[in-house]
Symmetry: C2
Subunit: 205 residues, 2 copies
């Protein structure tokens, strides 16, 4: 449920009240990238997710570092400016602000295509890796808000199909089920809204 991570019960698990959080016995870990790396190591997953090869691994790390302030930030802002602020929280967003946010997303998508994907099958090389998982999850934020992220971007669209095939269609759909319904959000409960507002403004400015 949107906003459930702001409960007191969740604060006991994660003091910063951010999702996701991994709890493995009495070990608690935040930050999605750190959680993915932890799972990769703990369960000794197939090499392609985070290759042992020095340069191939560095390409995954490069993407995982870049995305925080680029794709992740701009996808999140697009979702909030297009849907979550005006619809879910009832806070209007000016057309100029929305246009600027979407223009920035567009620039970042171009970098994703030109600098990372290039003519490769996947972002970090010929095989699917953590970089693709993290990227596709971020891209589903503006998609869920109704942005045509893959329109007029045949290379990115083909990559998306490859990632979906690599993950498996059923799991892919299940993972994105909630976010893909974002544009149908109902207005938030006032208590949730009050709890969310200051955090949201700090996050997306």
């Amino acid at each position: 449920m949107w906003g459930q991570h702001l409960s007191d019960a969740f604060a006991q698990i994660s003091p910063l009240q951010k999702v996701p959080v991994l709890k493995d016995g009495d070990f608690t870990l935040t930050e999605s990238v750190a959680i993915l790396l932890y799972l990769t190591r703990k369960y000794k997953v197939p090499d392609h997710w985070y290759p042992q090869d020095l340069q191939a691994r560095a390409r995954v790390d490069e993407y995982l570092a870049w995305q925080h302030t680029a794709l992740r930030r701009n996808c999140l802002r697009a979702l909030w400016h297009k849907v979550m602020l005006p619809v879910f929280l009832g806070e209007p967003v000016s057309p100029e602000m929305l246009a600027a946010t979407l223009a920035k997303l567009d620039v970042t998508l171009q970098v994703l295509e030109d600098k990372f994907l290039q003519d490769k099958a996947f972002l970090a090389g010929p095989h699917v890796s953590l970089a693709d998982l993290v990227a596709i999850t971020e891209l589903m934020h503006p998609v869920g808000a109704g942005c045509q992220v893959f329109k007029d971007r045949p290379k990115l669209a083909a990559w998306r199909q490859r990632v979906e095939a690599a993950v498996g269609e059923v799991l892919f759909q299940e993972a994105h089920e909630v976010i893909l319904k974002a544009k149908n959000s109902q207005p938030a409960d006032p208590i949730i809204k009050q709890k969310l507002m200051s955090r949201v403004l700090a996050m997306i400015q």
Copy 2:
């Protein structure tokens, strides 16, 4: 030299024209976190920098992921709003904007202390790690701008001393020599200013 990374020669090495960039033979890598991890693996550095232990390594990864949108962002904004925009680029910053930026930095410093440092010797545990290197480097940005980052923060100040001792005083000073002179910046050359402006605004907004 400030702005040197915007030259055409540098664009040939790094299309995004960001620093730092590592060039190892014909392998080019951007993103400071990815570069540090690459060097750690290539040169098989002592374990404490990026521990083999599953949970200890996850703590380093957690910090390295968190800092991108938190400490790194707020330290960079403090430097630019306090010194680089008004002095180097001659673009005034309103007192309200500067105060808001410094207030956000303060919140982030509190998270750094409460969530990451806690009562440990270093950010990710009892030994110095990549997390401390990345954090101290970011903190030198507001320090270079004249912010009293460690004042009234005895735990952070003691940690800073431990990091400096672990790295070695001479190397520590050498690494931060340029950034610590930021507050004495001279106004930029008009050509550099023109090249920097749009990139700077995109970076710090």
